[in-house]
Symmetry: C3
Subunit: 252 residues, 3 copies
């Protein structure tokens, strides 16, 4: 496989046994298109059984991690194809959740929506001091996804999770670390992520895989929580409030 051919919206680079995947739509703050979801899913599936890749680094480009779903792409695809194609996004989250090798994220700038919730499935998250996290689902008339509604209240307490999921506030990097979403705040998150990934890639693959699997023992619960969210999410998408929010967003 030449994974660099999968999509121009994704850059990949292999160094040793570490694969770095960069979201490559810097002019759109790396917001995710369906093409990107499918490309990311395909890459993770391809390397699942590839012994040459032991650790994955996820990064943005152009100073941001990801602004989340590309709403223009989302609306046009779902209007044309229905929610069947909309399932490309949850399929990526499902694949990331079940992926057996360590995933290390490097976050600069904005990590919004699914650009923030996917971090809940990363094993290490390094963020720059100016990184900003945001899950503004209610602002769009929507509910959380990726089991964020299950995970966040449990790791940080309901009172803190309310700031993320109900208010949709911007959470600075230091607070995101205190809330347990970020491993560490540092000057150069990509360099740090790649250094730690390289370190993990040289350890016993079985020890690392077993550790990750044991730490993921609630995956089945998270899958169910995500399924429940998706039922409500689809309902919310049909509301006037969500339609108005999307329309207003696209007219900006």
């Amino acid at each position: 496989m030449n994974i660099s051919d999968i999509s121009s919206q994704i850059n990949t680079q292999v160094l040793g046994s570490v694969l770095t995947i960069k979201f490559n739509r810097p002019d759109k703050m790396n917001s995710f298109t369906f093409e990107m979801y499918r490309a990311l899913t395909k890459i993770l599936n391809e390397i699942e059984d590839d012994d040459d890749v032991r650790v994955v680094v996820l990064s943005g480009s152009g100073g941001n991690f990801s602004a989340g779903n590309d709403i223009k792409d989302f609306v046009s695809v779902v209007e044309e194809n229905g929610m069947d194609r909309g399932h490309d996004a949850p399929a990526f989250v499902d694949t990331l959740r079940e992926f057996s090798k360590p995933v290390v994220a490097a976050v600069e700038g904005f990590a919004v929506g699914i650009g923030a919730t996917l971090l809940l499935y990363c094993d290490l998250v390094y963020a720059s001091q100016d990184a900003q996290f945001r899950t503004p689902f209610t602002h769009l008339g929507l509910c959380p996804e990726a089991a964020a509604s299950h995970i966040l209240p449990r790791i940080m307490g309901r009172a803190r999770a309310g700031e993320w999921l109900l208010l949709g506030d911007i959470i600075p990097a230091d607070q995101a670390m205190r809330d347990g979403v970020v491993t560490r705040v540092c000057d150069d998150p990509l360099a740090m992520a790649q250094e730690k990934a390289m370190f993990l890639s040289k350890m016993s693959p079985k020890a690392v895989a077993d550790t990750k699997r044991l730490m993921s023992s609630q995956n089945e619960i998270l899958r169910k929580a995500f399924d429940e969210e998706m039922i409500k999410f689809a309902e919310c998408l049909e509301t006037e409030e969500a339609r108005a929010a999307f329309k207003s967003f696209l007219e900006r």
Copy 2:
């Protein structure tokens, strides 16, 4: 309904779609009487299906949130009526737990006993710098209630929860935020709570309700944990140590 008529120990105020409920026994640090539990339960039940109220703010008065159970009232009522009437307190917690609209708490001064544990069922908790949190059940010969024994070790770790529930220490506001019980420490928690409540009240009611429900997915587990606590709580009430602690408290 004119909810302001329910009890003189509770003040209510409606602004837009936000109902502010103030515990109104400032000379008793707003400690809860059975009358207050029943009034609070009644208000929450009344507004559950009232579309004019979208968000609730809970606040104390006179510089404190609540000193918890009014022990004098508790002892006199339970001695006269048995634990059946004692169930007014857990009934309030049950109603708060199942309440479908966002609840925002504003905490100044003391939040003690059930005045602290009820915060675990609030969606946002704003506290002043001088707010003090305390769950001194063991000091009274009692065990925790409101599923605090289940929630606290999970969100803050067992070692930190021991300081709350075994030692019954005073927890300052900054620490309570780090422990995940407080959303944010601020200068004027009531103004902040009302501002955030107003903000939430203008969002899509379905998106907000679905988000809250998804975030409350462990309610059934919490109900069972609370039931188990109440069995032990009733047993503890019968011990000499609890009787002596209550007597000593009342003689202060």
Copy 3:
């Protein structure tokens, strides 16, 4: 019982109703031998029904808490007797988990491996500013034990738990407190632990025991998580990577 006779590798001291147990191999940074595991298990079992002991303090000696498993002892015993004798270590964790009285830990210097994971079963953990926590299982080609893979992601978030369990980093005391493994950082953790233990020992035994039991409601889940870890742990022990790591460690 004269528990001071159980093993020269364990010192015990009774003050009031508080039993202080000191790991006594200061020249080996109090790393645990099978003799120590068995002695600790025996002591906990003996005092489980001894009303004269109400609270236990665990402490190291010589400036460290414990460097974890004594690998030399572990290798020689397991090579001679197989994993049957290897079960002395998990048996100690099982006993500590099910122990009904409060356990307060005082940590100075290193708390490594099982010297760190056993803290997850202590009710209060006081640490000196220079205490260092470390769970470097992957460095030895192993996976976590004592249900650390279950507990850590839940209390501190997966991103923070990755630093403990995948990277095996040294975690300073302040961070361990923020992560929920330490109750409080203080100048003299042993004095603090004994003071708090004395305080707890004077409270209603039933209230304290009920509170601890209610806070331990997930013990059955932790037992299963530990069992699953032990299957993987035994597999990892057989790998070339683990054998090489042990060999390299013993040749240092």
